[in-house]
């Protein structure tokens, strides 16, 4: 200020610096903004109120410590501290450099900061010497904050655009792609260079579609999820939905922002679903098995042709019914109970064979496979029922069962023991005759044979696993000609012939065997009887021949010449033959005494009545007694005919017998009495005939013989021990 006072200034034009320094303080304060001046050394020489307000302080003027700026501290916008000596004002004072719209951060002594927009001009004298500088600055903090927010929002938008999961692009009014985000590029497989700058039309498959899209957009219409097809770089077609709106400025179409949503996967899934549904529908209708869908109460929701045909009912009719309606009442409860359990989720599915009523009243047998369709929460949605008409199969099964029953009845009725086994030999069936023969009911798990124990014909034990049935099964062949003996639990034995025969299914696989056991007890007995009979016959023939031999020899020895021999031998042979005849008639069991007497004696008595008297109870003679008695009676009769009462016409013969007790034993007593014949004399010599009688009665029969040579007639008493009541 001293300079101002020293120099006369009246005629000299003031420099800008001098003028500003000289200006009244009010002038500086009137300036709308903060202003301060520094001299050529940088000292603050003037500042206005606004500057002091922004600085938050009032620095002293012309103080060498207050140089270049009145602020407390300075920073660059990035926060770097800025020394006052390096600030733009210092540059202006030292180098004359002006600063235009530079921003620095001013910190007040209280720590608060503001951004100052700084404009500096160096002030020079007339010769161009730097006299100082003026700094006009203003607080632009609020503006800067707004600017930062706008920037951040722009960045957010940019980021959103670029990193959005959906494809985005912007097309200008010429239809050229000006921007496209990553998702859009990835969707189609192009790089930014290959996509951006090209016509959007080039990427659309359907020209009409993009034409329409662009037309609409140019008119300001919005597009919402318009379906379109885009061609990807690899040639594949992408199904997309385009959502788009136009930006119109001043009534002029500027560009359009498009959102491209990739629907390809969804589209493919949809195609697959449709195909599968079509396939299912085709199957549903073409199936030869019935298919129905029903709700939880059994109402039919859908039925196929096969089911309609099966039930003889129209689709329209069935769709008004529940599946219980056509079910036979006898099967309804069971089906309903199972379906209820299925709808509640207690069971997933079930199978039932039931009778169904056709429209014509006939009955169909159906095999039903019922299952459920459930939603993702396992809740019942509807029942799916697959039905097969098994009426024919059922009939065939019934026929088979009937024929099986028939066969069983047949087997049951057979008088032979019959049983069957499975392929492993376990008994599966046996008839009553088998139980009778085995003397037991076969136990569960019995194998090979119904019998209790088995023996071979020689009596050695035969294990069941080696029996003919076991062989038939193990070797898969019928066994014939075997013989075995079954022992019953009560110890009795039955000889039998088994007829084990393997059974095969239609494929020829062994499924078991059937065995018939034929009881041959009677045959065995008959065989044994026959053998005995043959032995006995042989024995008798040989003995008879020996007897004949003896008779011939003895008769020859005592005969009076050949004629006598022939007569006597013939008579003895005939007596023997008659006894044989009688015995043969009764199977050699016995011969009646009266007939024997009649047969042997009568021929000697002639045809005349009254000469032979016979009397006695019926008595049966066994073979031995009959033969011996026949021989004895023959000798007596021969003698009577030659010497006794039968030798003349007046003579008579009485043969009487009775069964009497003697010393506690029963005896047959037979009395031979001759009358009215020639006078009987004692025989001169004992003949062979008498000898033979004695042999027959005494020696062979253990009997007694008494001969009384009464002159009136021969009397003979024969006593033979009885072997039973009326049997001798």
């Amino acid at each position: 200020m001293s300079n101002v006072g020293e120099l006369p200034v009246a005629n000299r034009r003031l420099t800008e610096f001098e003028a500003l320094v000289a200006a009244a303080p009010s002038v500086l304060d009137a300036i709308p903004g903060a202003v301060y001046l520094c001299d050529h050394e940088g000292c603050l020489v003037r500042y206005n109120e606004q500057a002091a307000t922004l600085w938050g302080r009032t620095p002293r003027l012309n103080d060498p410590k207050e140089r270049f700026c009145g602020s407390h501290r300075l920073f660059l916008l990035d926060g770097t501290p800025l020394d006052h000596a390096d600030c733009p004002m210092a540059d202006a004072v030292r180098n004359g450099t002006d600063t235009c719209n530079t921003e620095v951060v001013v910190e007040r002594p209280d720590g608060s900061r503001l951004i100052a927009l700084v404009n500096i001009r160096a002030l020079k004298d007339h010769r161009g010497q730097i006299q100082g500088a003026i700094n006009c600055f203003q607080d632009v903090s609020a503006y800067k904050a707004m600017e930062r927010q706008v920037l951040r929002q722009a960045q957010d938008l940019e980021d959103f655009f670029e990193n959005s999961a959906v494809g985005l692009h912007i097309v200008n009014c010429e239809g050229t792609i000006v921007r496209a985000n990553k998702a859009e590029l990835e969707l189609l497989g192009y790089t930014a260079e290959e996509y951006i700058g090209r016509q959007i039309r080039e990427f659309h498959v359907d020209a009409a579609v993009i034409g329409d899209i662009l037309h609409r957009l140019s008119r300001g219409e919005k597009l919402d999820r318009r379906a379109a097809r885009l061609r990807a770089k690899d040639g594949s077609i992408k199904h997309v939905l385009v959502t788009s709106s136009s930006r119109i400025e001043d009534g002029k179409f500027v560009n359009t922002r498009c959102i491209t949503t990739d629907m390809t996967n969804l589209h493919e899934a949809e195609n697959r679903r449709r195909e599968s549904e079509e396939r299912l529908a085709a199957t549903y209708e073409a199936a030869t098995i019935g298919i129905a869908e029903a709700d939880a109460s059994g109402h039919l929701l859908r039925v196929n042709d096969a089911l309609c045909k099966m039930l003889g009912r129209s689709r329209e009719e069935l769709l008004t019914m529940t599946f219980f309606d056509y079910t036979d009442p006898a099967d309804r409860a069971e089906d309903a109970a199972l379906y209820a359990r299925q709808t509640t989720g207690e069971i997933d599915s079930y199978v039932i064979r039931k009778r169904a009523r056709r429209a014509d009243g006939s009955t169909a047998y159906l095999d039903v496979y019922s299952s459920s369709v459930r939603d993702s929460t396992r809740r019942f949605r509807h029942g799916v029922r697959v039905l097969q008409d098994v009426t024919e199969a059922k009939r065939a099964e019934d026929r088979l069962r009937e024929s099986e029953r028939h066969m069983r009845e047949l087997l049951e009725a057979l008088p032979a023991a019959v049983y069957t086994t499975d392929a492993a030999g376990r008994i599966t069936f046996h008839n009553k005759a088998a139980v009778e023969m085995a003397g037991r009911v076969p136990c569960e798990g019995d194998e090979w044979c119904v019998t209790w124990r088995l023996y071979r014909p020689d009596g050695s034990p035969l294990p069941h696993e080696e029996c003919p049935m076991a062989i038939a099964l193990k070797e898969d062949r019928p066994v014939r000609g075997a013989e075995a003996i079954a022992e019953r639990p009560d110890g009795t034995r039955v000889p039998f012939i088994p007829y084990p025969t393997p059974l095969h299914d239609t494929d020829g696989k062994l499924i078991g065997a059937i065995n018939m056991l034929v009881d041959i007890t009677e045959r065995k007995q008959a065989e044994s009887r026959q053998r005995t009979l043959i032995d006995e016959l042989n024995h008798r023939v040989k003995n008879t021949l020996a007897t004949v031999q003896s008779l011939a020899a003895q008769t020859a020895r005592h005969a009076d010449g050949l004629q006598d021999f022939v007569r006597r031998f013939e008579a003895r042979l005939l007596a023997l033959a008659k006894a044989h005849d009688l015995l043969t008639k009764r199977h050699w069991e016995d011969a009646p005494l009266d007939t024997l007497v009649q047969e042997v004696v009568a021929p000697f008595a002639g045809e005349g009545m009254g000469r032979l008297q016979m009397d006695g109870p019926p008595v049966h003679l066994n073979a031995r007694t009959a033969l011996n008695l026949a021989m004895a009676l023959n000798e007596l009769a021969t003698n009577a005919a030659k010497y006794g009462s039968l030798s003349c016409e007046t003579g008579a013969l009485s043969v009487k017998w009775h069964l009497g007790e003697q010393a506690g034993a029963t005896k047959l007593e037979l009395a031979w009495e001759e009358r009215n014949g020639p006078i009987v004399k004692l025989p001169v010599r004992r003949g062979f005939g008498t000898n033979l009688i004695e042999r027959c009665i005494g020696r062979d029969m253990n009997g007694e013989l008494e001969m009384a040579y009464d002159p009136q007639g021969l009397r003979c008493r024969i006593a033979i021990p009885a072997v039973g009541p009326r049997r001798v």
Binding site: A546, S550, R695, R699, N702
Partner: protein, 130 residues
């Protein structure tokens, strides 16, 4: 024939007429018939106690078999000959190989059988080891 002279013989034969023939044959061969019986019991008694050189045994005595007599004779080492209508097949194992004369037979058959029995009186039977 002389070899048989004086032999004391027991005849067991259930049929009287056949016994008569046999007795005649034996007498013709010079034998002495000590007894001729038709039943088992008297036959056993005589076989056990009588002074015998030989016995002729009918196998079947009215349904009873003569073998008890044969065993007694075997014990006493008395020769015997079976006479039978059955042939050898009717004999049990113990006598399977014994001398047998099959009815009807001639006097020569009888003489041969007696001679054979005299040569081989037969050991008491002992069952072969099983």
């Amino acid at each position: 024939m002389n070899a048989l002279r004086g032999l004391k013989v027991l005849v067991v034969e259930d049929e009287g007429s056949v016994a008569l023939l046999i007795e005649d044959m034996l007498q013709e061969l010079g034998c002495e018939v000590v007894a001729s019986v038709a039943r088992l019991n008297p036959a056993c008694e005589i076989a056990a106690f009588a002074d015998l050189d030989l016995a002729l045994l009918d196998v079947n005595l009215a349904g009873t078999l003569v073998f008890p007599v044969a065993r007694i004779l075997q014990e006493r080492r008395v020769s015997f000959v079976f006479s039978t209508g059955y042939g050898a097949s009717g004999l049990p194992d113990e006598f399977r190989n014994h001398v047998t004369v099959s009815k009807p037979f001639s006097i020569e058959d009888l003489a041969r059988a007696i001679a054979a029995a005299r040569l081989d009186p037969g050991e008491p039977y002992s069952p072969k080891k099983a």
